[in-house]
């Protein structure tokens, strides 16, 4: 479903991986190429078209870095 806009505030993300664990669609992972200014590997959505906007990732994120809008 490409009508979901999931944004991750990469700068505030601490790369803990709890969203990756929580995602039922297994479409999140920690970046293999990026580091934020604190040195964390921020979380990314690898296959956004598969996102169902269940918000599992956002609910489990300790740092409230995820925003989900259904278009």
């Amino acid at each position: 479903m490409a009508n979901v806009n999931l944004t991750i505030d990469a700068e505030r993300c601490k790369g803990c991986g709890l969203c990756v664990r929580a995602c039922p669609k297994k479409i999140m992972s920690l970046s293999k190429t990026k580091l934020n200014s604190k040195g964390y590997r921020p979380s990314e959505v690898t296959e956004p078209e598969k996102c169902v906007a269940c918000a599992s990732c956002a609910l489990t994120c300790p740092d409230s870095v995820i925003t989900i809008v259904k278009l």
Binding site: L59, S64, T67
Partner: protein, 247 residues
């Protein structure tokens, strides 16, 4: 039309949390803040934060806050509530703060039926001071002051705070929840909301014990810590409502 499925609540400030990556404190802070937003009580809420990892809570909860001495949050909350009974007053305390040095204050706040809500974070360890044994540390669990594992013969078994406080007449709502999974996080928020509603209804003392993690001091990744919580803490600390005085 855009339908916002999830957005950070304005009852959390924009300050970046000082907690370690994957720490459950951030989740629980958000749940408390969301409940305050949903109940529309920001302008009459006063929070009391503890000594421990949540000592900087006043930077994050976008409400009037007071910083209490170690373990004394329930007494501070009592003072606030007695002056302004119309305020919604909550304390946010860890297991060293509440179950050890502040055991007297929490028992008596419950006993008086103090109309406050306590959010009690049980992560089985002292976080801020570097991973010492807490009254909630599991038997066999290694910490910096139980390097061979907690020995029951030497220092007893971990305290089950929710069950203990549920036996006290003045407590109105006591529930134990956990933040190890999305489903449990949703339940945790419901419990926190229920506790705040019971306080507002004047039912008495309310406490939500939240089983949480401490990846840094447990010595594991955030993901591993949530699994450890599920496999080791939940069996000893059963989840569920321990007390509900509805009438």
């Amino acid at each position: 039309m855009a339908d916002i499925k999830f957005k950070k609540t304005p009852i959390l400030t924009d300050a970046i949390l000082h907690y370690c990556p994957g720490c459950g404190h951030g989740i629980v802070h958000r749940l408390v803040a969301e409940v305050i937003e949903e109940l529309g009580i920001q302008d009459r809420t006063v929070g009391v934060v503890p000594v421990g990892c949540a000592v900087f809570g006043y930077r994050y909860f976008n409400v009037d806050t007071m910083e209490a001495a170690h373990g004394r949050a329930p007494a501070v909350a009592t003072g606030i509530k007695r002056v302004h009974p119309q305020n919604v007053v909550f304390t946010y305390q860890g297991d060293g703060d509440l179950a050890s040095i502040g055991a007297g204050e929490i028992v008596h706040a419950a006993h008086r039926g103090e109309k406050i809500t306590t959010i009690f974070i049980n992560n089985a360890i002292y976080g801020m001071t570097g991973g010492q044994m807490a009254p909630t540390t599991l038997v066999g669990q290694k910490t910096t002051t139980s390097p061979y594992g907690r020995d029951e013969a030497h220092c007893g078994k971990p305290i089950r705070v929710a069950e203990m406080l549920a036996t006290i007449e003045g407590s109105a709502y006591i529930e134990r929840v956990a933040v190890n999974s999305t489903a449990n996080i949703i339940k945790a928020k419901k419990a926190i909301k229920k506790a705040f509603e019971m306080q507002i209804a004047g039912k008495g003392f309310t406490l939500i014990e939240v089983l949480s993690n401490c990846p840094t001091n447990w010595g594991m990744s955030a993901v591993e810590s949530m699994d450890w919580l599920e496999q080791n803490m939940i069996p000893y600390y059963p989840l569920g409502v321990k007390k509900c005085k509805e009438d």
